[in-house]
């Protein structure tokens, strides 16, 4: 009899176990993600330390080991902050037909996508980017200037988010024409990571390559805000030049992605309900 009773309770306890696992799983995933980022930082720390050890001078292309590390740590923080999977959501919504429901909303689809993700930007700004920034500042004992450049920096980050969003949106719409979301998305990630200076600071690029990259929108995503934050030699006119370039790219990217969207949305009607 007692056996039977404990048996009946057991089945309820398995539900307890399930719900514990589910909520622990969320915490655990946060922890693992943080550890993963830490390991990444450790690897690039030793990598760049070995790289600088092989060099005869301490300053290479105007950057010391110290500068490079600050740059790369903050680039990682920016990357985590701006990651938003818009390509996936547009691609998937197109494939499942869900997009039809979003199109009948009395809103502009592109603006809708942006604001549907905006909360995520806000949250990750406070949970990942700001803590990283403070920790880096404390560890490096003022490795970057904290003055008027912070205002330019925040402005620059907002512009960077918009450019990044437009690139993602554009690439998401490309998925209408391809059967592949994974392939298109990975190409975008690779191109953005390399040409934006997120994986290697643009200062290290050979001259000719850097000239080309300077004419592309990607450097306005990572390189511009990081330069404003880290480079202490900049003056007001440099800040304004950088921000001006970003505004230029925001305008161009919004224009291009909107034209592309307006041309492409005709395809959607084929899918029906």
């Amino acid at each position: 009899m007692t056996n039977k009773k404990s048996f009946t309770l057991n089945k309820y306890f398995s539900l307890t176990k399930g719900s514990i696992m589910e909520s622990l799983s969320f915490r655990f995933s946060m922890l693992i993600t943080v550890i993963g980022n830490l390991i990444y930082l450790i690897v690039i720390y030793y990598l760049w330390k070995a790289i600088y050890a092989s060099s005869s001078s301490e300053v290479v292309n105007g950057m010391t080991f110290h500068d490079t590390m600050i740059y790369l740590v903050l680039a990682l923080a920016l990357f985590n902050f701006m990651e938003c999977f818009i390509v996936w959501s547009i691609g998937r919504n197109f494939q499942t037909g869900q997009i039809a429901l979003e199109l009948i909303k009395p809103m502009d689809y592109q603006v809708f996508c942006f604001f549907a993700n905006s909360g995520q930007y806000l949250i990750s700004f406070f949970t990942t980017f700001l803590p990283t920034l403070i920790i880096v500042y404390l560890i490096t004992k003022g490795g970057f200037a904290l003055s008027i450049n912070l205002i330019y920096f925040i402005l620059s980050v907002i512009l960077a988010i918009v450019i990044n969003f437009c690139v993602d949106f554009f690439v998401g719409v490309i998925c209408f024409y391809t059967e592949s979301v994974w392939g298109v998305n990975i190409m975008k990630e690779v191109v953005v990571a390399l040409l934006s200076g997120a994986s290697i600071p643009l200062a290290f690029f050979p001259d000719r390559l850097r000239t080309i990259v300077n004419f592309l929108p990607f450097q306005a995503i990572y390189n511009s805000p990081l330069k404003i934050l880290i480079d202490k030699s900049l003056e007001t006119k440099d800040y304004i030049t950088i921000i001006g370039f970003q505004i230029f790219w925001v305008a161009i990217m919004i224009l291009i992605s909107r034209i592309f969207w307006n041309v492409s949305k005709r395809i959607i009607t084929v899918n029906g309900g």
């Binding site: 399930g18 696992m21 589910e22 622990l24 799983s25 655990f28 995933s29 693992i32 993600t33 550890i35 993963g36 390991i39 990444y40 450790i42 690897v43 030793y46 990598l47 330390k49 070995a50 790289i51 600088y52 050890a53 092989s54 060099s55 290479v60 292309n61 391809t178 059967e179 592949s180 994974w182 392939g183 298109v184 998305n185 990975i186 190409m187 690779v190 191109v191 990571a193 390399l194 994986s199 290697i200 290290f204 690029f205 050979p206 390559l209």
Partner: protein, 268 residues
């Protein structure tokens, strides 16, 4: 029961299952082509990264440009099997969650084999060719003699090196059996493949130990490459790597199976 079936039986079976998978993939030809190009994009970007670095610096921890490319090419090759043959690990979460996984438990063949055989990821093929090309280029530039002995060594070390990443991903995927949805563990483990392209020498002693014995990515490219790159100072671990690879793979297989056999379905 499973073990009584011979290798021939499983090879035959693998061919049949593989053909089915390829047939269904062929109906998404554009996806295959774009995904392959995407995969090669990531490989090319790794190559460009090294190229840019070596425009500014002469060497990394005493390794020159071509030695680093050798290491990179080797790591891409060694990472191909996990990409091509063990990609179904990534679907484990949804199979377990929806209860589909039970179908694998009901066949009279090895569960692990059946599960993995169902998906062949074609994207890995692009990586295989790019890795081979990079390795060939570096091999020539370094003037490593192309002898039969070296070729055999290359094949043995390539196969054993690939076991480490396969085992790592099996272990990461197996966590799905105990946690509810642990794709994040897999993403975490999968990132280590990118660290296999650096000589483990660059790390401090603690991390050298970790990357050799705890998360053994140093065996994916570094230790086996020493056969060809530094033939005068081959450490014992290089010789041991095939055995360690088999042991590590066996452990991961056992853990994966233990998880799979404890799977009790979703009740529906």
């Amino acid at each position: 029961m499973d073990n009584k079936r011979g290798l021939g039986f499983y090879i035959h079976l693998y061919k049949i299952i593989l053909t089915q998978d390829l047939k269904s993939k062929m109906s998404y030809r554009a996806d295959f082509i774009i995904s392959t190009i995407g995969m090669v994009f990531t490989n090319v970007s790794g190559f460009i990264t090294f190229w840019i670095l070596f425009q500014n610096f002469p060497s990394i921890a005493g390794w020159n440009y071509y030695e680093m490319l050798f290491l990179y090419g080797f790591s891409l090759l060694a990472l191909t099997p996990v990409q091509c043959f063990f990609d179904n690990n990534w679907n484990l979460r949804s199979h377990i969650y929806t209860g589909d996984f039970i179908k694998y438990c009901l066949r009279p063949i090895n569960l692990f084999f059946y599960y993995m055989s169902e998906v062949f990821d074609m994207k890995g093929i692009g990586q295989f060719f790019f890795g081979t090309g990079t390795l060939y280029y570096a091999w020539n530039k370094l003037g490593i003699p192309f002898t039969l002995k070296n070729l055999i060594l290359l094949i043995i070390s390539f196969i054993s090196a690939s076991l480490f990443m396969i085992a790592l991903m099996n272990l990461a995927a197996a966590t799905n059996f105990w946690l509810m949805g642990s794709t994040f563990v897999m993403i975490f483990a999968f990132k280590f493949k990118d660290y296999a392209r650096y000589p483990v020498k660059i790390f401090s002693r603690v991390f050298r130990f970790i990357f050799t014995f705890i998360i053994p990515i140093a065996f994916v490219a570094y230790y086996p490459s020493l056969f060809f790159l530094k033939p005068d100072e081959i450490p014992p671990l290089t010789y041991l790597s095939p055995f360690l690879g088999m042991i590590f793979f066996y452990i991961s297989y056992k853990v994966w199976m233990k998880g799979a056999l404890s799977y009790s379905g979703t009740g529906s």
